[in-house]
Structures are given as C-alpha cells and as structure tokens.
C-alpha cells in the first residue's frame, strides 16, 4: 500500500522540518526520505500506515515545529506514526549511519573476554574483600 503523491509531498514537508540536517548529519531533503526509505519502513511495519495517513490528512501549517506540535497534540497517535516512520527511515539510511559512525549491530568476537586492563580494575574490588551480608 503506497502513499499517494499528495501524502508523500506532505510527509516530505514534515520531514524537512523535523530532520533539517546539521551537526554533520544529512537532512531529510538530501536523502529523499519520503520516497524509497519511507516505503521500506512501511513494508516492514505496515501497521504504521493507517495512523500516518490520518496525520497527513490533517490541515494546518507544518513549516515550523510549532505548527507541527499543534497538529500532534490534536492527533498524537498519528504523530507517533510519523515519528517512527521518519526516524527509522532516517537511521536505517546508509548515509546517516556513515555520518554518525554507526556500523549497525555488527558481529564481533566475544571470546577475547576480559583483558589485562579489565582485570586490573577487578583486582581493586576483589582486594577489598567480601561485601555480602551475613545471614
């Protein structure tokens, strides 16, 4: 179930205000967030589409966060869907991940266990002796 052109346009306008870009991170406009990235999110979690569309159908100015806030107070569930969809589309995007230095939940070797520096810290605790309450 894909968004209509009007819905997508409105979502894009919201995204530009909510994710303007800055502090070394890309903005929604540069990523075209309201296109394929949002479609991906809705494909993975279609339950967001209904409330998202409700919010997109609301009339009112959305060119500032204050304007969006007024609509959000009126339709909090719809705004939650907008938030989930945009945030996930944004943080799942490879360009965002690269910009914030996030490789994703990657696999690493756990068998290295505790290193010498760790054990030196542990020794301090062990050296203080038992701390349990006698019963």
């Amino acid at each position: 179930m894909s968004l209509s052109g009007t819905e997508r346009k409105r979502l894009g306008a919201l995204a530009r205000v909510m994710i303007p870009g800055g502090a070394g991170q890309p903005g929604a406009a540069a990523l075209g967030l309201e296109g394929a990235p949002v479609d991906d999110v809705l494909r993975i979690d279609p339950t967001r589409a209904g409330p998202l569309r409700r919010f997109l159908a609301l009339e009112g100015p959305i060119d500032t966060l204050a304007g969006i806030e007024a609509l959000a107070q009126h339709e909090p569930d719809g705004f939650e869907a907008v938030s989930v969809v945009l945030a996930n589309a944004y943080f799942m995007h490879p360009e965002t991940r690269a910009a914030i230095g996030y490789p994703g939940q990657e696999a690493r070797d756990a068998s290295v266990g505790l290193g010498e520096a760790d054990l030196a810290l542990v020794d301090v605790v062990a050296g203080r002796g038992p701390v349990f309450r006698r019963v």
Binding site: G104, R108, G113, L114, V125
Partner: protein, 529 residues
C-alpha cells in the same frame, strides 16, 4: 483429540523446560501445552537494519502492543506497570536480557533480617546446588569470585568482554570504592553445547539472531524432543479439570482453529508465569482456599540513569546482557528511609533510535529539528545506563484477577492487573538513582539523565501463588504442590514469597529443578488420579 501422558505441563518457557526435561529423563511421558510457536533464530531482526523498527511492534515485550494471535491481552488500566512477556517455545526468555543473577542469601530471610514480608521455606545453601546445575545447562558466562556472594557465584564459562563502556563505568565505581563485578549472563562467551558463541550484537532484548543466547528452545527442548516429549504449540490451556476425588486429571486446551482438546495426565504442572498461572487457577477455580491466588504480585519497578561522556564508547556494542553489576546498595540500611535495596546493571545504550525521544520539555516535537541532530552528535555511542532493579515487597492488593470485559482470541477472560508502586519503592528508586548519578559523575559523565520509572518494566512476574507450609496462608508448599489439589503443581515464579532485587530466571530454573526432582523422587507417594 484426547491424549494421555504421565504429566501435562502448561508453558514451554524456562520453568516448563526444566520440569519437562527432568521428567523425561526419569522415564515419564510428558505433554507440554504452549500457546506460542517455535521461533527460529533467523526470524529475529538483530542482524538486519530494521532491528530498531521491529522492536517497537513485532518484538515488543508488551503483549498488548505486540497483539499476536498467540498472545493474550492484559487489562492494565489499574496498574502502574505493564507486565511484559513473550509466548513461544522458550517463553519470555526468547526476548530476555539473559542477565543471570543468583538471589542473595539474605533474600531468603527478609522477615528474620528486616522484619518484612516472609522468609522462604528454604535457604540459599539449599538452592546453591540447583543454581550450579541450571547454570551448567545454560552456559552462563561470568567471572567467578564475586565478593558479593559467600561462594563467589561461580560461572561455568569465562566472562564476556567489558568493552569501553564497562571500563568507563568500572573506573567510576573504583573511584568511589563501590562494589561492581563483570556481568554474569546466560550468554556463552564461546561455543557451548547447542549454543553458538556470542557475537556481541547487543540485540538480546529482541531475540538473538545468532543462536547464542541461552534460551530453552536451544538448551532444553532439543533433548526433550529426543526423549519423546509431546510438545504442542499453538495450544492454549483453558481449564484444569479434576476427578471426583478433587485430584488434577486433565487440561482442556484450544488449538488455533478454536477446536477443544483434552490432555490427560495424573500430574499437571503450571509453568505459565506469574500472570498466566494465577489466571489458569482462577479460570479453573482451583487452589484458592487461602484467597491468595493472584495476590502479592511483584514486578520489580525499574529506574535508570543514563550518562553521556566525551569519549566515543561504541555504546551500541553488546551484550545487552549486563556488562557490569553492582550490589553496593543491595542490603537494608534503615537510615535511608526504606527497606531492602536494589541491584544495578550497566547496559549499552543501543542504536540511534533511543535518542529520538527522551527529554523534550513536555512537547511532542521537542526532540525533533536541530535538537535531534544535537542529541545524536553529543550522545550517540557516548552514553550508557546504570539500570536499577528494586526489590518489590509483596502487597496483597497488588494482584492478578480475571477481567469481566476483556477476552483473548479464544474468548477466555484476560488477566486484569491491579498494581500500585509503593512508597518504599519510590524512596528506594529515588535513593538509588541519586547514587547512580554520582557513579556516572565519578566516571566522568558530562551529562546525566534520570528515568525515575518506566511503565513498560514488568519483566519479572512473581508471587501470585505463594509457597508456604500453611494452606490458610499459602497456595503451594515448598516444592510447588498446590494445597488441597493432589497432582497439581506450580513451578514458575508465582510461588516466590519475595522478589529479591535480582533478575529472577536463575532462581526460577533452580527452584523448578528442586521441585521437579523432589516430585520424581516422591512420585510413588503422590496421590495422583
């Protein structure tokens, strides 16, 4: 369809798994009824980019949010805390954090030591061999010699790495001279029996896609299957039936198409957790002479302190899992104004999504715009949490009963929760969060955020079919046998007289092992149908 076996168990989580496997090893025939399904490792999203998206719905710990057909809904309108769980072969462990904690010796003697609640009918020393037994089965990783335990809480596998987060937290604790120890987790640091080695993916709370985390579908059910268990999935128990002499005789269950079946057995064991078990007892009208079925619900209200640091700590790296624990303020100190205490666990902060919400000044959009980018730049990868699990003292008005309006997909009454956070708990969490802020500052945090309590924190469900010797003041005896109903047993945390401040699964499995081995030893004496 009717089946006949020696024993019928309801629930395929950690407690049901321990009970079933021991009975099968002893040569008995066992039917297990589980409303959920098997969940293969590749169903979990941990290794996929959408991991943080699907944890908000498909893998959410609150069944009311998840809303899968196998879940039952829970009426939480009168509760300060939402009970959390998962229906499947492996139970809630499929999405547990695998924090593995033995209770403290003092936890079994709170009445004697602190004049509150009840003592357990057995002591830490009685349970210690069973802890060791289930820890072997679960491949627990950790560093033996923890000075917070008289026996050092030995672990069969070496500890997982502490990482940059653990070292930072430990340095702060050492500056203060406070107790901490590398985390113990039911997560193998190397390949162990049916478990893959952990790869530190850090998505334990939404399921382990690498087959590492110790969950009963990997640690217990494969052997049970080899021994011939009749494990029925998609099987929702509706009622326990008794014979003319009042002995447990059968369980009526409903399949996914709504057809009713009867599983007969001369012993019935409830392992459906601290909400599901009292629900079934109440639906069956059994075992409630004391009036305590469903009462004394304990859920461990949880608070947390997030610290942000200048250094890059790679704080999305797992396990999650606990990296460190602290028992510095675990015991009662009356000068603090409350009784008992809390255990702390140091946890990674996860992926970037968590920085979307947070402190937004009370508005819905406050976390967006330039604030979002600023928060992510300052905090992402540079933050971690000291989480606080406070001992929840039993109160008879905190309870599970049956909803008169809400029903599950089979038309059975949903459980209804009435639960209020006590004054003792509020004071305890306020004290502990203040100390955790100090721990963060000692570690060099440039910013701290206190979460005084989260509503979605009912991970630990205990106390609703309390054990004791007197049938007037308890529901089951010290080995889980329901007073007045021969052949009916409870082997999950419903039986716990108190909650401790610890994650409960180690104790659930140890107590289940103790109870079921006693049942096996005494089976000739059981007045079974």
């Amino acid at each position: 369809m009717n089946t006949e076996s020696d024993v019928v168990i309801i629930g395929a989580g950690p407690s049901g798994a321990v009970a079933a496997l021991e009975l099968l090893r002893a040569g008995m025939s066992v039917t297990v009824l589980e409303q959920g399904d098997w969940v293969p490792a590749d169903h979990f999203d941990g290794a996929r980019p959408e991991w943080e998206l699907t944890q908000l719905k498909r893998w959410h710990p609150n069944p009311n949010v998840r809303g899968r057909p196998e879940d039952y809904p829970i009426d939480t309108a009168a509760s300060d805390v939402n009970p959390l769980m998962f229906a499947g072969v492996g139970g809630a462990a499929l999405i547990y954090g695998a924090h593995w904690m033995r209770f403290m010796p003092s936890d079994f003697r709170v009445r004697t030591l602190d004049g509150v609640a009840r003592d357990w009918p057995f002591a830490y020393e009685d349970l210690a061999p069973f802890y060791g037994y289930v820890e072997e089965a679960m491949g627990v990783s950790g560093l033996s010699g923890n000075p917070a335990y008289p026996d050092g809480a030995p672990c069969p596998l070496p500890a997982l790495p502490m990482g940059k987060v653990g070292r930072k937290a430990a340095e702060g604790m050492n500056r203060l001279g406070w107790h901490w120890w590398p985390g113990s987790n039911a997560i193998p640091s190397r390949a162990y029996r049916g478990l893959q080695p952990c790869v530190l993916r850090g998505t334990c709370g939404t399921g382990c896609s690498d087959g590492a985390k110790a969950t009963p579908d990997r640690t217990h059910w494969p052997e049970a299957q080899k021994l011939g268990v009749n494990l029925r999935t998609g099987a929702r128990a509706a009622e326990i039936e008794t014979d003319a002499k009042g002995r447990a005789r059968a369980v009526v269950w409903i399949d996914r198409r709504g057809a009713r079946h009867r599983a007969r057995g001369s012993v019935v064991i409830l392992c459906a957790n601290g909400v599901g078990t009292p629900r079934l007892l109440l639906m069956s009208g059994l075992g409630n002479r004391s009036g305590l079925v469903g009462r004394r619900l304990m859920m461990h209200p949880y608070a947390g302190v997030m610290g942000t640091f200048e250094d890059d700590l790679e704080s999305w790296v797992g396990p999650a899992g606990q990296i460190l624990t602290s028992m510095q303020f675990y015991e009662t100190d009356r000068s603090r104004g409350f009784l008992r205490g809390a255990k702390w666990n140091c946890m990674p902060a996860g992926g970037p999504q968590s920085f979307r919400a947070g402190y937004t000044g009370g508005t819905l959009t406050g976390g967006w715009g330039a604030t979002l980018h600023d928060r992510v730049a300052r905090k992402f990868g540079r933050s971690f949490e000291w989480g606080i699990i406070g001992e929840d003292l039993p109160d008879e008005s905190n309870r599970v009963d049956l909803s008169d309006a809400l029903v599950d997909g089979d038309g059975l009454p949903a459980p209804r929760i009435t639960y209020a956070i006590s004054d003792n708990t509020r004071k305890m969490l306020a004290f502990h969060t203040a100390r955790a802020v100090e721990a963060m500052e000692a570690a060099g945090a440039i910013e701290t955020e206190v979460t005084p309590l989260i509503r979605d924190c009912g991970w630990h469900l205990m106390g609703t079919a309390v054990m004791g010797d007197d049938p007037e003041t308890s529901v089951v005896n010290a080995v889980g046998a329901v007073h007045d109903v021969p052949g009916l047993y409870v082997m999950d945390a419903s039986t716990f007289p108190t909650s401790s401040g610890m994650n409960p699964t180690a104790t659930i499995m140890a107590v289940a092992a103790r109870s079921v081995l006693d049942l096996i030893e005494r089976r000739a004496e059981v007045d079974a149908a």
